[in-house]
Subunit: 275 residues, 2 copies
């Protein structure tokens, strides 16, 4: 087979770079793959960067230095992120989502891979600079969203458990006070984390920060620095304990505590999305 055309190289590079966000590929790798000069590959990269920018498809970034190369960050444009979350708010505000006991049904959002992928990329975008080593969540419902945040950041997902099963080796277990004031436990295999790493804590939902607080305490046991805390949906409870802590949790969507089955819930994008 002959040499590839620029069209073909660009199509292939787009696929390769975007399938592993935040992973650095050396230009030499593409040179070898496509049998092309470095200057040619550089021009391909510039071209891709331009068209991705034009259509809001994410950022192609050149990294200088010995470990340098090119990487893809699935950062949406500010206006696209806001529009996407506004659309999500509209869906979440539908009256049939208010379940008995005034719970908000969000399970279908947490089930849809393409939606999660976009929301995960939006959630991840403020955290590239702080370079977390992993995303931490606790079972069960936050896992799909947290996995997509981890995907966008190019880091592993670490899952704390509600119990401690033998098959994960030795574990660290903590107790914490949940939203309802109950004592709960959370465990993590020692093997999952290394001292002095940096964690981004992610969950699907918070009402008073209890579970997120538990994860912060768990990380303290491992001497891990927490670089941020994020949830998809934050329910704004007037009487939340530890208001200051609660406010530090970055949400995509804020839901007013008052909701009913006639009018639905009042849902709006978190303020940072329009800053």
């Amino acid at each position: 087979m002959g040499k590839l055309k620029r069209n073909e190289r660009v199509g292939a590079m787009s696929r390769i770079l975007t399938s592993a966000p935040n992973r650095i590929y050396t230009l030499n790798r593409f040179c070898a793959m496509f049998d092309a000069a470095k200057s040619t590959i550089s021009e391909d990269v510039e071209l891709l960067r331009g068209v991705f920018g034009q259509f809001g498809l994410g950022e192609i970034e050149t990294v200088a230095g010995a470990a340098g190369g090119v990487r893809f960050l699935p950062k949406p444009r500010r206006e696209d992120a806001l529009a996407y979350v506004q659309d999500l708010c509209k869906r979440l505000g539908s009256p049939d989502r208010v379940l008995p006991g005034n719970f908000l049904y969000i399970q279908d959002i947490l089930s849809d891979p393409p939606t999660l992928e976009v929301l995960g990329a939006i959630m991840a975008s403020p955290y590239y600079a702080s370079q977390p080593d992993f995303v931490l969540t606790v079972e069960t419902k936050g896992i799909p969203f947290a996995l997509m945040v981890a995907r966008a950041l190019g880091v592993p997902l670490v899952i704390a458990r509600r119990d401690h099963k033998a098959f994960e080796g030795s574990v660290v277990t903590i107790n914490y006070i949940s939203g309802g004031g109950q004592m709960k436990t959370m465990s993590l295999a020692k093997r999952s984390v290394v001292d002095a790493q940096r964690a981004l804590i992610i969950d699907d939902f918070t009402k008073d920060g209890g579970t997120v607080r538990g994860m912060v305490e768990l990380m303290r046991e491992f001497d891990v620095e927490v670089v941020g805390m994020g949830v998809m949906v934050k329910r704004m409870t007037a009487g939340a304990r530890e208001k200051e802590f609660f406010e530090k949790i970055r949400a995509l969507v804020q839901v007013e505590d008052e909701m009913d089955r006639e009018n639905g819930a009042k849902v709006m994008p978190a303020p940072w999305l329009s800053e």
Copy 2:
């Protein structure tokens, strides 16, 4: 801004198609997006199909008919799939993975988004033809792998629970017999599934098919057809009950039951991968 060049269109289309596997995009959508004629877009698609094929980046498929268009299937080439799983086997065979009680440590594999994405695509590839409406798993450890299988198939992930929480609305709960012969329960919100849908059942691991069998029984309650059952790792237990059922579960990797901390486990790709 002027019209785009073919390079630029192809780079953008590659990103758009691959970020939503198995979703059909109409050619008209790309015509409008890039202000280009249908014949031009068709040529772009052909070009992308060719280079994806050449480098094993997945399949670009044209779908005829009124609801037609173009879609991306992240199907790996047979030889690439086998090589990837062989590499996984090498990692899993390492002696330090054998935990006390002869459990095999696989948590790190289940934590890494790019690995899961490739393994999910391999697992999904035999199931495009049977068109599942969703992927079903049960909490907790199978969720990341199952989400990536669902992503590859372009369908939602449905997660059965070990308990039944109020906030999901009304649920169906079943009892089933687990591997150890214990009675366990599994629940699913009624709202998550519609009668007469088709399910692909996915889990991370099986030793005797107990949990998978539970999910099959759960689907019977919902009048859902099971189109397949897949796990990442299958431990080959000589005395497995219901041998015929056990054999129907498609694995990526098979592990021999005998393992020790000196020699590690014997791990090999499932036979279907080299057929």
